[in-house]
């Protein structure tokens, strides 16, 4: 475990590196460096000293839960897959990191690809699969290259292929490419996509553990989940389950981004508070603006506020607060961000990414988006707020897969936590943060205007008129609210309301 990296004492900053253990430390294109840091020791130990069920028991005891979002116990998932007998089974790694604003998996694949390969082989051994598939998005060319190099090297060293560690266990890994569809993060969609079909989900059960890829038992885990496996088996479940909270063990990697001073990946023990992540590791809000919200869980998560800052982060606490862990995106927003627009942004995403198979998601999200769009244009009514809530609850209850079941979360959480802001949009037709352009008007303050003509010259649409050395006037009919005049004016004579 790394406690000191490049003079930056991680312990002081509450970070522990488990999943990111090797990232940035080893040369990912050189298998020797991975082996030098005890790489493939865990696989060797499993194959030569442990029975498959022992491996599963160890993972179960560690308390590791799926890092892709749902938080399903990993050991249990493996056990279910191991008990379904078939002539062929598959181990799948979900590397289709579709959550906008998250890049944990990319960093792990680019920085420590062997950890994922080793873990997949271990999983294969525990459930009786000989074939592994990494489903990776085509948008990650570097990660694809590094994985290819890593697979090649592992084969050369006899760590993938036939008779690993001179046992009877064979295991090999291939890559499958995604083509840009958020819904493919859902297990059943991902499997259909790997089969060359449209990535549409199907009803569970049957779970992939029974009938997955090509109808065979399949175990799907996310990149970060796999990255935890080798170190757990090396150091033991009892080491791992001492880290974290009662029901969420270990660490979680977050992609900290948005209006925060230090952006990047952070790995903290479960139970760390949002405040510690944003203020101690993230260094607080950029330009010393006021903190407004933090969004976790991507398009499936919610916006949390000041009052949630001291909540210890784990799967259950975030759910209780109206958000979710998700894959680990953490976007910080300041006072300049309009929460209605943020909800609209996520809905825009969901509408585009909904596969269209079930109507609550396909039609419902579109209607939610239209309502939000009207509100940001100042055309909303008070009754729209109740309509938003009702429709959100119906979509959650009736959608087929995880995408639709969680897509209204950004709406519900902003309605709960920022109701006043919605009210300002629908009753006063104002956007308190000034982000909704349709609700703004630019004015010239007559006392301050000296008639320098700077604003008229910078206006791209010629909306400003006035004689030299006389008060100017902005024609609201022509103004496109780009803000160029306000920026140019040296006399604070232009304001926006």
């Amino acid at each position: 475990m790394i406690t000191n990296l490049g003079g930056f004492k991680m312990s002081q900053h509450k970070q522990i590196r488990i999943a990111l253990n090797n990232c940035g430390v080893i040369d990912p294109e050189n298998i020797k460096e991975y082996i030098a840091r005890d790489g493939y020791v865990a696989l060797g130990k499993c194959l030569t000293e442990m029975k498959p069920q022992d491996v599963i028991n160890e993972i179960k005891e560690s308390g590791l839960r799926g890092r892709g979002g749902g938080g399903f116990p990993t050991g249990l998932k493996w056990e279910i897959a191991s008990k379904n007998h078939a002539d062929q089974k598959y181990v799948v790694c979900n590397a289709d990191e579709g959550d906008p604003g998250a890049f944990m998996d990319r960093s792990i694949l680019e920085g420590d690809p062997h950890a994922v390969l080793e873990a997949m082989a271990i999983c294969g051994y525990s459930m009786g699969a000989t074939k592994g598939l990494v489903y990776i998005r085509a948008e990650y060319p570097l990660a694809i290259k590094r994985l290819k190099v890593a697979i090649e090297q592992a084969r050369e060293y006899g760590l993938l292929g036939k008779k690993l560690f001179e046992t009877d266990f064979d295991f090999d890994i291939e890559l499958r490419y995604g083509a840009g569809a958020f819904v493919c993060g859902e297990e059943t969609s991902l499997i259909h996509s790997m089969e060359g079909l449209r990535g549409e989900p199907t009803i569970k059960p049957p779970y992939p553990a029974e009938k997955g890829y090509l109808g065979k038992p399949t175990n799907v885990n996310n990149v970060e989940t796999y990255a935890n496996i080798p170190i757990i088996l090396r150091k033991g479940a009892s080491w791992f389950n001492k880290i974290g909270t009662e029901k969420s063990k270990g660490t979680k990697v977050f992609a900290l981004a948005g209006k925060v001073k230090n952006v990047g990946l952070v790995e903290v023990p479960m139970g760390t508070t949002l405040r510690e992540v944003i203020y101690e590791i993230g260094g607080g809000i950029e330009n010393d603006k006021k903190f407004k919200a933090v969004q976790t869980g991507g398009p499936s998560g919610g916006c949390l506020t000041e009052k949630h800052l001291d909540t210890p982060i784990d799967f259950d606490n975030l759910l209780a607060a109206g958000s979710m862990m998700g894959s680990g995106g953490m976007i910080v927003m300041d006072e300049d961000n309009c929460m209605v627009s943020v909800a609209k942004f996520y809905l825009d995403f969901t509408v585009e990414e909904s596969c269209g198979k079930c109507s609550p998601c396909r039609i419902g999200n579109k209607r939610l988006y239209e309502l939000l769009d009207r509100i940001t244009q100042g055309k909303g009514e008070l009754s729209d707020l109740q309509r938003l809530r009702n429709m959100s609850l119906v979509i959650k209850d009736t959608s087929l897969c995880g995408l639709g079941q969680t897509s209204p979360n950004p709406v519900l959480s902003t309605l709960d936590n920022f109701y006043d802001e919605y009210l300002a949009h629908v009753t006063d037709k104002k956007c308190p943060s000034g982000e909704c352009k349709d609700l703004m008007t630019y004015f010239v303050i007559e006392e301050n205007c000296v008639g320098c003509t700077a604003c008229a010259r910078v206006c791209p649409v010629g909306a400003i008129t006035g004689e030299k050395k006389e008060v100017h006037y902005i024609n609201p009919e022509i103004c496109i609210k780009c803000g160029a005049c306000e920026e140019r004016c040296k006399f604070d004579a232009i304001i926006v309301k």
């Binding site: 990191e97 579709g98 959550d99 906008p100 604003g101 998250a102 890049f103 990319r106 960093s107 085509a138 948008e139 990650y140 499958r176 490419y177 995604g178 083509a179 840009g180 569809a181 958020f182 996509s193 089969e195 060359g196 079909l197 449209r198 990535g199 090509l214 992609a255 981004a257 948005g258 209006k259 952006v263 990047g264 969004q295 991507g298 995106g329 976007i331 927003m333 961000n337 943020v342 942004f345 996520y346 995403f349 596969c355 791209p460």
Partner: protein
């Protein structure tokens, strides 16, 4: 899909056939085949899809269904320098929308369109995973970070000679 049947050139026909063959003409490899095909042609017009369908022994409708389902596949040719603006959450929060508007204004095209001279095309993508550099713009393989609306002109100027 377009109703105008354009015959695929002999040379191109062979390229597609070879790609399909390299995947053993397996229907399950459809997505991989389409990736490779788009790599060589730049886009996937209807007539190319027909050949792929024939080679993999699947209905054209299925190929079309897959092509239109995934955002990575396109049926329209892109510009010489395809511009992609990241509209992921981090970029959005840091003002990607303003950058997009500026590109639209400077190029005088909408998202999904190509300039008349075929030089630039404009598209949005969801997160390139470089959130630390938000807002991010990609032109071809080159990535630009912390782009401001004022910086748009500069980026375009880099490609004006090429």
């Amino acid at each position: 899909m377009s109703n105008i049947k354009v015959k695929v050139k002999e040379k191109d026909l062979n390229t597609i056939k070879e790609i399909c063959k390299s995947f053993d003409n397996k229907p399950g490899e459809l997505i991989n085949v389409l990736h490779k095909t788009q790599e060589s042609f730049g886009y996937l017009p209807a007539e190319v899809q027909e050949v792929v369908a024939q080679e993999l022994s699947v209905p054209v409708a299925k190929v079309y269904g897959v092509v239109t389902f995934y955002s990575f596949f396109t049926m329209l040719p892109k510009g010489k320098h395809p511009i992609s603006i990241c509209t992921g959450t981090a970029c959005y929060v840091r003002g990607a929308e303003n950058v997009l508007q500026e590109f639209k204004r400077q190029l005088n095209i909408e998202v999904g369109q190509t300039t008349d001279d075929g030089k630039f095309s404009l598209s949005c993508l969801r997160c390139v995973g470089a959130c630390g550099l938000a807002p991010v713009v990609q032109v071809g393989d080159k990535t630009y970070g912390r782009v401001s609306p004022e910086g748009v002109k500069e980026i375009l100027a880099e490609y004006s000679e090429k």
